[in-house]
């Protein structure tokens, strides 16, 4: 196990070095020396972090700390941003995610993403979920597609609410239902990792609780990386938490430890509301 801090006996509570163990004993994705620049501006600086198999890891930190930029590296969503440069090494099960021969469309199926604001396609509920499996050729028959749609909606906890309205537009659902539809859409293509970028920020507490319950259930099948501004949410849903500050990964560790006994002063200040 690697220790992020150089000195194992005494943690420097002020240095901009990662405190805690950034490795995972069973990694799905390993990220090493990752930096992200937007033009001249450095958004993420030399970050090392593993994403474990079937773990839920929360990325927290103040706005502009680099957590979403880092998240978007994991399925190359930053490729679509003009002026964005990503450096470092990303490997999923040993394969280089930034290999020039990497099929980015396939990668985004393997590493799905759910955004802050629910963004269903302007299609029916059924077609929202069926779209991915169709373009990836995951089912050859109508019955096969129907089976994937039903399974995905069930895993997303939405099936019972929509099974009689599958031809209604996805946009006709409530915000919470739309977000679960987006989760169903992401998992319909058999991903290995699901990225969630503030998935509950636009939802009420009940819809939030449903998404959190969903995260708990989905973690049996997938690795989940969640960016959240709610520390209570990070504490509730994740096993590990990583704290970012001005582009640096400051601290990573077991969520229970990070929220009760943070090692780094910056983490402590942030989680206790002393930041800034």
């Amino acid at each position: 196990m690697n220790q992020g801090s150089a000195d194992k006996t005494r943690v420097d509570r002020t240095a901009r070095k990662t405190v805690g163990d950034f490795t995972h004993p069973d990694p799905r994705i390993t990220c090493r020396n990752v930096s992200v620049h937007y033009g001249d501006k450095c958004a993420v600086r030399n970050v090392d972090l593993d994403i474990g198999r079937n773990e839920v890891i929360a990325l927290i930190g103040p706005s502009g700390c680099g957590k979403s930029s880092f998240l978007r590296c994991l399925n190359r969503m930053n490729d679509t941003i003009e002026g964005c440069r990503v450096s470092g090494e990303f490997r999923m099960d040993g394969n280089d995610l930034y290999d020039p021969d990497m099929d980015v469309v396939l990668l985004r199926a393997q590493v799905g993403i759910v955004f802050q604001k629910p963004n269903p396609f302007p299609k029916s509920i059924f077609d929202n979920v069926a779209y991915g499996p169709r373009i990836h050729g995951l089912a050859q028959t109508r019955a096969g597609v129907e089976e994937i749609v039903e399974t995905s909606l069930k895993r997303a906890g939405l099936w019972e609410e929509v099974k009689d309205y599958l031809n209604d537009p996805g946009t006709s659902l409530s915000g919470g239902q739309q977000q679960r539809l987006c989760v169903a859409r992401a998992i319909a293509v058999n991903p290995e990792v699901v990225l969630m970028d503030e998935p509950c920020s636009a939802l009420d507490p009940i819809a939030t609780a449903r998404i959190e319950e969903l995260i708990d259930e989905l973690s049996e099948l997938y690795s989940i990386v969640i960016v959240t501004h709610s520390m209570q949410q990070a504490a509730r849903v994740s096993e590990r938490t990583a704290y970012f500050h001005l582009g640096d990964l400051i601290e990573v560790g077991a969520t229970d430890e990070v929220f009760t006994k943070p090692q780094h002063k910056l983490t402590e200040d942030y989680i206790t509301g002393r930041f800034g």
């Binding site: 006996t9 005494r10 943690v11 509570r13 520390m231 209570q232 504490a235 929220f259 009760t260 006994k261 943070p262 090692q263 983490t267 402590e268 200040d269 989680i271 206790t272 509301g273 002393r274 930041f275 800034g276």
Partner: protein
Amino acid sequence: MSGDHTVKSYDQELQHLNDLVLRIGNLARDQLQRAVDALKARDPDAARDMIARDALVNDLDIEVDDHIVHVIGKRQPMGPDLREILTVGKVVTDLERVGDEARKVAMLCLHFCDGAGSSSSELIVRDLIDMADSVDGMLDKAIRAFAGRDLKLAVECIRLNVDLDSEFRSGLEQLAAFIREDPHVVGDVVETVLGLRAITRIGGHAKNIGGYVVFLVKGKDVRHEDLEAVAAEVESPD
């Protein structure tokens, strides 16, 4: 640690909790002193007054608990703030029990004042009064350890409690000697053992508070660790 929150009212709420701990701590010490003074002076009115004042300690205990519920519900504290609030709750519970134990010393005074006491009662309670003095010093250190987040004082409280246990055993032997010399004092001795036990328990509460301070500062629960282990934890780097 309470200060510097972005939300200043959160600072004020935590500061208020800390102030309440000091108030209940000083009140508990005052109660112990009143009980011992009443015993020394064989003053039943002072003893009854002290017993009645225990309600003040109880009221403060409830006030602190109410405030803790309010802060947790409103702020959802984390990290050192969470430890601070948990520690306040535990410290106050122990201080409230100090008040209960001090009441037993006042009850001992009433025993001696109701005519049941023997002529040698002053000798019998001598060790208890000496121990009460030591225990008051422990309480003072415990409260100061909490107020100043002072790990040295916290460990000192735990160390002094080891000495107190020895004093308690020595006190019991002395009381047994009184019975051997004059079996008629058995009633006084039994009552005094209860008082001695109460004093020892107050020392135990001071020791507990020392342990809570270690948890507050270091984040490590040392309640069931021995003195050497606690001292090692205090010396270890963060």
